[in-house]
Point group: C2
């Protein structure tokens, strides 16, 4: 049983509720609660010791990651985060100083993005630390960016650089909230997702039946860490394969209809001069993800990070 099959099974027969505009299966749920001009975003996300961070990781970075992950999901909808509640599951005999540092890192990141910590609870979780952050946010009506809407011909864009996140980026990444909002406000973005399971795992989630993608290998922004890890043989992957399949980049991946690319890339350079934006390929009317190199082309399998199968 993999994570996504199980989720589909569990959520298959949920009753429809009028207030629920987007339910399970997108980066955040979207609800209509009657806020004039706005819709509510709602998300839950957990990090677990030994799965999402090592016991030796910097405690403040652990707290940062716990909230930055759902913040990244709000970014992927084009939204603004508002408030969170935090559940701490702690093993008996936990170190109170470490927990205080973890919570400190979480609070700092919350404050940096004007998110309130509205409440929480602490419970026992034998074996390892478990941190769940539930987050609400808002988005202007009609502006929400879901994973639906891809059309053949759309350009495929990605922020930042990909791969090698395990070297440290997964603990220190900055959720792309400003970028997500700016994209939603200024361009007819077709659909967007944040990269948590690798491009190979997440790009298919933007593509409905009958659609695929052609990716230009030389256009893929490969991170310094992915190259370094390959050179130091810390991974068996080539830097390109690492960029295409490594998990937890937390960059934005989005689709834009033809004809807007030049305006987007120009505007981006002015708005976010320190963040790379790359057009890496095109949506095509043929299933599968094909990587086009100078002299060959090959098909990318959706073998990104999948829980239960390949714990990181």
């Amino acid at each position: 049983v993999d994570e996504f099959e199980l989720i589909q099974k569990l959520t298959a027969d949920l009753p429809k509720q009028e207030h629920l505009l987007v339910g399970p299966g997108d980066d955040c749920a979207v609800l209509d609660l009657g806020i004039p001009g706005k819709q509510l975003l709602f998300k839950t996300d957990a990090v677990v010791e030994g799965i999402h961070f090592d016991a030796t990781a910097d405690p403040e970075q652990i707290g940062h990651k716990a909230i930055a992950r759902p913040l990244s999901d709000v970014a992927a909808m084009g939204g603004t985060p508002i408030s969170c509640v935090v559940t701490l599951g702690l093993p008996p005999g936990f170190d109170p100083d470490k927990i205080e540092k973890i919570y400190g890192g979480l609070k700092n990141t919350a404050a940096r993005f004007q998110v309130s910590v509205a409440g929480g609870e602490i419970t026992t979780n034998p074996g390892q630390i478990f941190i769940n952050v539930a987050l609400i946010g808002t988005i202007d009506c009609g502006r929400v960016l879901t994973r639906q809407g891809a059309e053949a011909g759309d350009g495929i864009f990605v922020t930042g650089e990909l791969g090698g996140s395990i070297s440290g980026h997964h603990l220190s990444f900055k959720p792309r909230l400003d970028e997500g909002r700016w994209l939603a406000a200024n361009f007819p973005i077709r659909s967007m997702i944040d990269l948590s399971d690798g491009l190979s795992g997440d790009l298919p989630r933007l593509l409905r039946e009958g659609l695929g993608a052609e990716i230009l290998a030389r256009a893929v922004p490969i991170s310094r860490e992915a190259k370094l890890r390959s050179r130091q043989t810390l991974t068996e992957k080539t830097p390109l394969l690492a960029a295409l399949t490594d998990g937890e980049d937390f960059e934005l991946l989005f689709l834009l209809p033809r004809g807007h690319s030049v305006a987007l890339l120009d505007g981006w350079k002015k708005q976010f001069p320190d963040v790379r934006l790359s057009c890496i390929g095109t949506v095509v009317a043929r299933e599968g993800i094909r990587i086009k190199d100078q002299d060959r082309s090959w098909t990318l399998k959706p073998n990104g990070y999948v829980h239960f199968k390949k714990p990181q």
Copy 2:
């Protein structure tokens, strides 16, 4: 370190945010998001295998409990629940059928109270099942019932019957949502809480410095299970002590100013003929909780259920 000291330490220096009307320390957080005439309630709550339920518990009841607990917190504010998101932490090698039944129980209870399951996530949690439910709800402006506001002379009321919840009630209880809303709408309730840590643990949370309570022993509604467990020597507590100190009753405990008791008890009988409502004592201007028996009086220590100290 006990749970409440740690929470106080962690949440002591949170920055103020204008939208946050009630922050950590009450049954739910209360937020102003600009919904006309309404405020938002926000709550997170977890149940963990071995702590809040046994591995042998009925899976559907486990799912019920996971959502009924935060529903009970919404009831304690006088609110209406709207939507939830669910995090499942599952050990490797979990039984998918059991997880489906747990989720089924959760979905049934959600549907019964018109709550949507808006999303969720599944992650690995080695060792035991961990279920977190984050819940949002609403309450009419000016109607919210917090834990603040007690005054000497207030009557102390409790719904249902207390004690012996471990025999089964903790897995099958019905959150008092209708009752909470009706109380908030019709009576000048001073403050309210749901009983999760026992009356001895939760009543002090309604009493500010300088206030205490006098409880009439014969007025305390003792459950059949508390009596049975005492008779069968499943507990060393007398039935009265079980009713005063056992955890997870999930009944409503509230304070009402003098002069409204008769109207409340009369109205209650018509509205909720199958649910007991008891006036068990009075708030007094002297600290401590004193239990008055026919021939003696004694002080109740706040030794209800406390995480980390006395796992159930």
